[in-house]
Symmetry: C2
Subunit: 272 residues, 2 copies
Amino acid sequence: MTTPQADKPSCSLCLFQRICRNAGATPALDSPERSLSPASMLWRAGETVHRQGRPVLAVFPVHDGSAKSVFESPLGWRQVTAFAHPGDVLGLEDHDSQAHCTSAVAMQDTRCCVVPIEAVRAHLLRAEYREPMLRTLRRNTERERTLLVAIGSMKAAQRLAMLLLDLASEQRRRGNSGAALTLAMSRNDIASYLGLTLETVSRLLARFASVGLITIRQRQLHIVDPAGLSAVYEDPERVPIRPPAAEPDSSPAIAPSKPLPLRPGTAGPALA
Amino acid sequence: MTTPQADKPSCSLCLFQRICRNAGATPALDSPERSLSPASMLWRAGETVHRQGRPVLAVFPVHDGSAKSVFESPLGWRQVTAFAHPGDVLGLEDHDSQAHCTSAVAMQDTRCCVVPIEAVRAHLLRAEYREPMLRTLRRNTERERTLLVAIGSMKAAQRLAMLLLDLASEQRRRGNSGAALTLAMSRNDIASYLGLTLETVSRLLARFASVGLITIRQRQLHIVDPAGLSAVYEDPERVPIRPPAAEPDSSPAIAPSKPLPLRPGTAGPALA
DNA sequence: CGGAAAATTGAGACTGATCAACCCCGGTGG
DNA sequence: CCACCGGGGTTGATCAGTCTCAATTTTCCG
């Protein structure tokens, strides 16, 4: 555990920036318990930040690096349920529980602040801090529900496109261009998250690359044709089937030709 | 909208029974805003109790009947995300949102109380009422996460067995024996909930029946062999494959022969 | 440099989706 | 009372998308 250095850029997305000295907030006339100066800790790739079932002692804003949330069902089924990046807060959704309901595992060397749970709960009582926190929580449950629907009714290619677009938009949210991203997670993690196998993910990435949607070398991913990816995401039919090697046309690949079928509810495996 | 009659048995599981006059609570020395006497309303089968995206004006404890929660993703994919029975509270998970994030649709004629959202929020501030409410909320997110893992990594038969066991235990929780249940939802709803097609659900139910796990006539379901169902749920291999008509042995069907493989994580499509 | 983990690629099997026909049952109106 | 009708449910045949198993390559790291 080290004393934190005021690393502004990485704090600028933090939920707690307004009340955290580390982020440069001025304590000013705040009452003592309203200002934070949390310690920060470093987790090595593969180490677990918090463990499912263990008491909730703190939450962990990700300063840099990244982590995955892993849920293990009573029967032993494991699944990645979320990816966390700088600005996200590990363990936040458990703030009102006795125990963490997922484990968080660092996917690379990752630095997080350590905000005691009492501080979180105290801040939740103050209306001005409550709202942003709730908004973050809601965004996460929204995301999880979208994932549920995706896994429940969309094809593999759609799900993967969804993830890539999501990662890109996260990337964008924290400044960098959304085009170039470094996947911190393994194919296995991606597969688990999407309810697929790692082979399928690998093949799909190759196919995306072969039709010019992306380029990928190991974990270096470039999104070449965001619109094309969106098309794949939105249209069940638009699963690119073209592993051929030749590149007769160098156009951005796959121009939207079909006016996007509204009401895909009919297409899915089952409706409501 | 009718004036509610004090129908104790149905109120006995209600989250609000301690503070609700309809449930027979004694207002006693409570401060005025702490006691409830909500109106109750009747929804016909198919009518929607609250709609996704609409402002949260109230929550709806189910008095009798049942409903499904339906989520519609931005792209139009629809999926049933939960089934609600007497004692459950429709819209409760949206208590801190501006808008409902799912729609609730009655699956049969259903009576719910109408608890204004302000009352809910007020009660959330009082520690003694906060806890049970949070517990309910957590139970739901736990359930939803289990569903996620189920859809993401379990086989169709396992998922269906899971649902049946879950319905049975819900049934039990509210008094009745868990053996006999009346499915309020259509095959389509079940399929949507489990991420399958209605045909698959139908076939699976037939197979379950053919191997003596259940009997089913229309929507009248009897669970003949709960242990067998659990085995199906827990063991990916134990998918009953035996549509044959003959019934050489009349034993409870499928005695557990294999010692349940621990760590099914290996078996699933992907691990964490 | 060597070994292990991660990723790719291929061939084949199998689950579950799709398409289609039929049935069952309750309701409606002649 | 019965014929018709429509929605929900069943069943069958077929097909496609993914999983599975296995071999190989690449990368990472000591």
